[in-house]
């Protein structure tokens, strides 16, 4: 199949970006979206042109490295990651717009690559548990209720790709932050730091310059892991509870 790509090209962070058109022939519908970009880059390299920079790693939908806005929708609207999106989702002769995540705290490094370390700093502000080192405890030493551990596992599927930020009209990272909060708050191991964690992570979220959540729901729609809006309410419940606890900042 044949497609026309319109790709955001930006040489470096403070350079002016613009959309550039590339016709591409010989695309197989079995190619993943990233393989299609690889094909384009092979052609560009042969023509002595600068290949398109894009983030990718595992290419099996579990690492969260890849992610671009395709035709105005983060990850292309198929409820999966960009690497797991296939060209069969597009019509022959289609024009496809490809843009990087755009948000104040996500500066573009080059072309489609953005700096998402703001999310790492949110994790550093509390998205962990403190445990003594030593031999691993028995797996059943600390019982975890089934319902809560299922919720924790669902939230833990968040791969931190940043699609929620890219899609949110407020540019908020609330779905990401709440997934991390919910994941740890549902498990016994997460209890000691539960309320200092939520305060710390929200403070960091705001300090990074992410917008506030107004419950629009775009984040959940594009999330490749289907993290539901309920996790944001879980974060809010913990945040309200934390006001009555003496822990944290």
């Amino acid at each position: 199949m044949k497609v026309t790509l319109r790709i955001w090209r930006q040489a470096k962070q403070d350079a002016q970006g613009r959309m550039v058109s590339y016709p591409l022939d010989g695309v197989s519908e079995d190619m993943s979206f990233l393989e299609m970009l690889d094909l384009l880059n092979e052609h560009l390299t042969k023509q002595n042109e600068e290949p398109v920079a894009f983030d990718h790693d595992c290419r099996e939908g579990i690492c969260g490295a890849c992610g671009v806005v395709i035709n105005g929708i983060a990850h292309g609207g198929e409820h999966t990651t960009t690497c797991q999106l296939h060209m069969r989702s597009f019509a022959d002769n289609a024009t496809i717009d490809i843009e990087p995540w755009q948000a104040g705290p996500f500066p573009v490094i080059k072309d489609l690559v953005v700096d998402r370390t703001a999310l790492d700093r949110i994790i550093q502000a509390g998205g962990f548990i403190s445990a003594n080192t030593g031999s691993a405890p028995d797996a059943h030493a600390v019982p975890a209720p089934k319902r809560e551990s299922d919720k924790a596992f669902d939230a833990a599927t968040c791969i931190g790709c940043g699609a929620c930020v890219a899609a949110c009209p407020n540019g908020s990272a609330m779905l990401f932050t709440s997934a991390k909060i919910t994941h740890l708050a549902m498990l016994p191991q997460g209890q000691p730091e539960r309320y200092s964690r939520v305060k710390g992570m929200i403070a960091q979220h705001d300090e990074e310059g992410f917008g506030g959540c107004t419950n629009i729901g775009e984040c959940s729609e594009v999330c490749p892991k289907g993290i539901p809006m309920e996790t944001i309410s879980q974060l809010n419940r913990d945040l309200i509870s934390s006001l009555f606890k003496g822990t944290g900042k």
Binding site: R6, W8, M19, V69, N71, G72, I73, A74, G77, D97, E99, Q102, A103, G104, P105, V165, A167, C168, P169, N170, G171, S172, D206, G209, F210, G211, G212, C213, T214, N215, I216, G217, E218, E221, V222, P228, M229, E230, I232, S233, Q234, N236, R237, I240
Partner: protein
């Protein structure tokens, strides 16, 4: 935002309920009495007008905090998502009515603020004398209401403003509860959104029934 929003919704529901006294066929006797009573509620426990002013200050504070939250949220949105559309091919993935209401909260809010100023100038300050001569301040609340809503364009302005209220509350009600942590499951989300539809519809019809009946002469004949 959530707490002040729910206070304002509570006020609106009670306001709409009070307006139904216009439907009592007693030429406004009870409506006027209700209106006058509000001015000396809790008298003689408290001085006359004391409760009224306390309530006005409370409502003004709730409104002020609501506007301040909106100002902060908009500022944060601008610095993160930009002022205009950030993608060349911008497309919402939730192409639902709900998404529309959620995105237009700020515009609905601005329309409502302008409307409330007009509404207070018309009925409380009596500066805007729609349907009766300027400078008249002796009309009873019932007669002022009748005069105002005898003008078709006044009813039209109210119909538009109430549409803004309806759309604003449609998102605001559910969003407030979600922010307060009540969105615990897919089912509770359905219940909250269902209640949001009921309450926004109740507010629209509740507020529009008396003016429309006055315009068509059903009330006050």
């Amino acid at each position: 935002m959530a707490v002040t929003g729910l206070i304002l919704i509570g006020f609106l529901l009670f306001h709409a309920f009070g307006n139904f006294k216009l439907l009592i066929p007693d030429e406004g006797a009870e409506f006027n009495e209700y209106s006058h009573l509000l001015r000396r509620l809790l008298y003689p426990i408290l001085p006359p007008m004391f409760f009224l002013w306390g309530f006005r200050i409370f409502m003004l504070a709730a409104t002020g905090l609501h506007l301040y939250s909106a100002y902060k949220l908009t500022g944060r949105r601008w610095s993160s998502a930009g002022v205009s559309g950030r993608y060349v091919s911008q497309k919402p993935s939730t192409s639902k009515a709900h998404s529309y209401a959620a995105r237009t909260m700020i515009w609905g809010g601005i329309i409502i603020v302008l409307f409330v100023i007009m509404h207070l100038l018309q009925f409380t300050a009596q500066v805007l004398t729609f349907g009766y001569p300027d400078g008249t301040t002796t009309l009873e609340p019932y007669d002022r209401t009748l005069a105002g809503f005898s003008e078709w364009w006044v009813v039209l302005v109210y119909a538009i403003a109430m549409l803004a209220v309806c759309v604003h509350v449609f998102h605001g009600f559910w969003s407030a509860f979600a922010t307060l942590g009540a969105n615990v499951s897919a089912k509770s989300q359905g219940v909250l959104k269902g209640l949001a539809v009921l309450i926004s519809a109740a507010l629209y019809f509740g507020f529009m029934i008396p003016p429309v009946l006055i315009l068509f002469g059903v009330i006050g004949q």
